[in-house]
């Protein structure tokens, strides 16, 4: 992805870089206890390769960024709040670090983890 050409050259920011920021931000977000693959096939591939961006898919549609997050949430938390917080955090971090607008953060809850049976 690139910004408009500047006189001294172009700036290219890879999907990978953006995904890493989203990945880190999501993992620090409260309620998120894991990141998951989109589907089984992709999951297998990502696990085998130890993909650091597991659970994050980056789309770039011209000038703005859209993110899909695939997360696992801790059972017992308010899922609606957790997803809202994660989306907010990820959007903020990416906009702060990259400087390009994030138009969408789609959060897919792939599962819940039960730490404590209540």
């Amino acid at each position: 992805m690139n910004e408009p050409a500047k006189p001294l050259g172009n700036i290219y920011i890879s999907h990978q870089a953006i995904a890493t920021i989203a990945n880190q931000s999501a993992l620090e977000s409260y309620g998120v206890v894991g990141l998951a693959a989109k589907n089984i096939v992709e999951g297998l591939a990502q696990v085998l390769v130890k993909d650091p961006n597991l659970g994050v898919v980056v789309h770039f549609d011209g000038n703005a960024i859209a993110i899909d997050l695939f997360i696992i949430i801790e059972y017992g938390t308010r899922i609606k709040s957790v997803t809202a917080n994660v989306a907010d955090s990820v959007r903020y971090q990416i906009e702060k670090c990259i400087g390009l607008p994030v138009t969408q953060v789609n959060v897919h809850v792939r599962g819940l983890r039960i730490s404590n049976p209540d």
Partner: protein, 572 residues
């Protein structure tokens, strides 16, 4: 046996002196107390919110979460504390808002789990519950971030356990908990860089502190509804100290002295003030009150309106803070590695701005005493991203401190010994940031002689120097540090000084006026100076062949803002 606590307005008396056992109803009452105190301090917590997203809603989120928890149990008569705790946790879960809210709901979840099936809670059980709460909270995230509410909850649980070794009195343990919560919150900037950068403590942690403090205050009979209004004695209201603290979003500052009709209800008064502004302080004197407030621009006229309804206004001053702050902003040009960074000592804001426009890299405010320490000077350049530094002390008393500063650093620092602001300015004109350090230093040093320095001020005592006799209160003028003139008015002193400096043979006079002279007075004096040293005549420019070249002088006037000296004059 339960303690039969009732939630009601505080009477000022402690509700209990010791607390051994809590049941469901006691817990319900404590939740209400915690919630109320958090509500009172909601905005404080909101203002601290910088992590993870600085959207200023931590206080509100935690409050909504607690409110939801309380709504779940509001009408419950449940005595069993285990069941009550579960209901609270359920309410918190359903109502959790924001990161802090979700974490809070997890804390309650763990807390409730420890109270499972228990009728009542004693100190030991409380300790277990706090520990379980903390453990549960850590499980809810894969990368727990320290320096947040998680840390504070953990620290509280540890202290609770330690204090339980000494006492079984829940009231005492709560005292320890609140003290530790406060300390833990103070430590959060050390654990989370984002907080340190923003200069705040963690909002969520502070919110948790308020929750526990609310419970403690309730038990001690202290008020929860309003942050305590402190009405100070008038003499303690040092206006200068109040004026220093300006928070963002405050545009106007009002200080109003008034005599209330009848008794002033200070709580009601303060509440009314809180609706229109912030930084509220109330002082009481002989039959009168002084009120200080900051208001946003749209509320500019409200303080006077409000106070005038309560009594007779004796005196008022209003100040536009935004305009002041605009004036105080100085933009310094950044310096790159390899360039020369110049540090100057400046006695006034106006002079600082002029130095800034001449590309200095760092300014040390000389202040009232013009005596910055070596450390202050070192701090001014240590963090500049270059190792070539020039210091202009601009005062002969500072030259030693500046020299000392060169010895305590690894950077290449050289002092160009300017003895006055005019000398410093002349030197600055020779600066080429990309030049060779030694060459520039030599150039600047030569330039020090380019300007004559005049200083005009009022003598504080009688003295005889240089054959000039001075009475206290007279206006004196110094030329290059030597007393040359004493007069009864500023105009005479200035003109005498200029004469002694052989200004007739020079070309340019620059005057910097200080903080203890008005612009009007300055203009008056400058007009007199112009009469003796006229500016280039426009007439001669119009004539094709001017009859005679009469000497003309460039005269510039700047607001220097320096203390003590009404004028600092540069003659070139």
């Amino acid at each position: 046996m339960s303690s039969n606590l009732q939630f009601s307005s505080s009477s000022g008396e402690p509700r209990v002196t010791t607390l051994a056992l809590l049941d469901g109803q006691d817990l319900k009452v404590l939740i209400e107390a915690a919630l109320t105190w958090l509500k009172t301090n909601q905005e404080t917590v909101n203002a601290l919110n910088v992590y993870p997203v600085p959207d200023g809603d931590t206080g509100t989120n935690m409050l909504l979460t607690m409110q939801a928890a309380f709504n779940e149990i509001q009408n419950s008569g449940e005595q069993n504390i285990g069941k009550m705790a579960h209901a609270i946790a359920q309410g918190a879960l359903l109502g959790a808002r924001g990161n802090s809210g979700v974490i809070l709901s997890q804390l309650w979840r763990g807390f409730a789990r420890a109270l499972d099936n228990l009728e009542k809670m004693d100190a030991q059980i409380l300790v277990n519950a706090l520990k379980e709460a903390s453990v549960t909270s850590y499980k809810g995230v894969i990368r727990p971030v320290e320096g947040t509410i998680l840390t504070v909850a953990k620290d509280i649980s540890i202290v609770a356990e330690n204090s339980n070794a000494k006492t079984n009195d829940i009231l005492q343990i709560l005292d320890y908990i609140v003290a530790e919560a406060d300390l833990s919150v103070q430590r959060t900037p050390e654990l989370l860089p984002d907080l340190k950068k923003a200069g705040v403590v963690d909002a969520g942690g502070k919110g948790l502190f308020y929750l526990f403090e609310g419970m403690l205050r309730f038990l001690k009979g202290q008020p929860l509804e309003a942050a305590e209004v402190s009405v100070k004695p008038l003499s303690a209201m040092d206006l200068d100290k109040i004026r220093e603290k300006i928070e963002p979003g405050q545009d106007f500052e009002w200080v109003i002295d008034f005599q209330p009709i009848g008794e002033l209800d200070s709580n009601k008064f303060s509440d009314g003030l809180k609706k229109i502004g912030t930084s509220i302080q109330i002082g009481e004197g002989d039959g009168m009150y002084r009120m200080h407030i900051h208001v946003p621009t749209q509320n500019r006229d409200l303080p006077l309106d409000y106070v005038s309804k309560l009594g007779t206004i004796l005196n008022w001053t209003g100040e536009n803070l935004v305009a002041q702050m605009e004036k105080a902003k100085i933009d310094l040009e950044p310096v790159s590695p390899g360039q020369i960074g110049v540090v100057v000592v400046s006695p006034g804001l106006g002079i600082s701005k002029i130095f800034a426009s001449l590309h200095v890299s760092s300014i040390v405010e000389g202040g009232q005493t013009m005596n910055p320490s070596t450390e202050e000077i070192v701090r001014a350049f240590e963090n500049l991203p270059t190792d070539k530094i020039i210091i202009l002390p601009n005062n002969k008393n500072i030259i030693l401190a500046a020299q000392a500063a060169t010895t305590v650093t690894l950077k290449k620092v050289i002092v160009v010994p300017s003895k006055s602001v005019p000398q410093g300015l002349s030197a600055m004109l020779r600066l080429d940031k990309d030049g060779d350090l030694d060459y520039i230093v030599a150039d600047m040093t030569k330039a020090l002689q380019d300007a004559e320095t005049g200083e005009v001020t009022v003598a504080t005592r009688s003295v005889e120097i240089n054959g000039v006799h001075v009475e206290a209160g007279q206006v004196i003028a110094l030329l290059n540090g030597d007393l040359v003139e004493a007069a009864s008015t500023l105009d005479e002193a200035c003109l005498g000084l200029l004469e002694k400096a052989n200004t007739a043979d020079r070309e340019r006079i620059t005057l910097f006026y200080g903080e203890n002279i008005s612009r009007n007075e300055v203009n008056r004096i400058v007009d007199k100076i112009r009469a003796v040293y006229p500016s280039p005549s426009h007439e001669s420019a119009l004539h094709e062949s001017p009859k005679q070249e009469s000497p003309s002088y460039e005269i510039e006037v700047h607001e220097g803002g320096q203390p003590h000296y009404q004028f600092i004059i540069s003659i070139e």
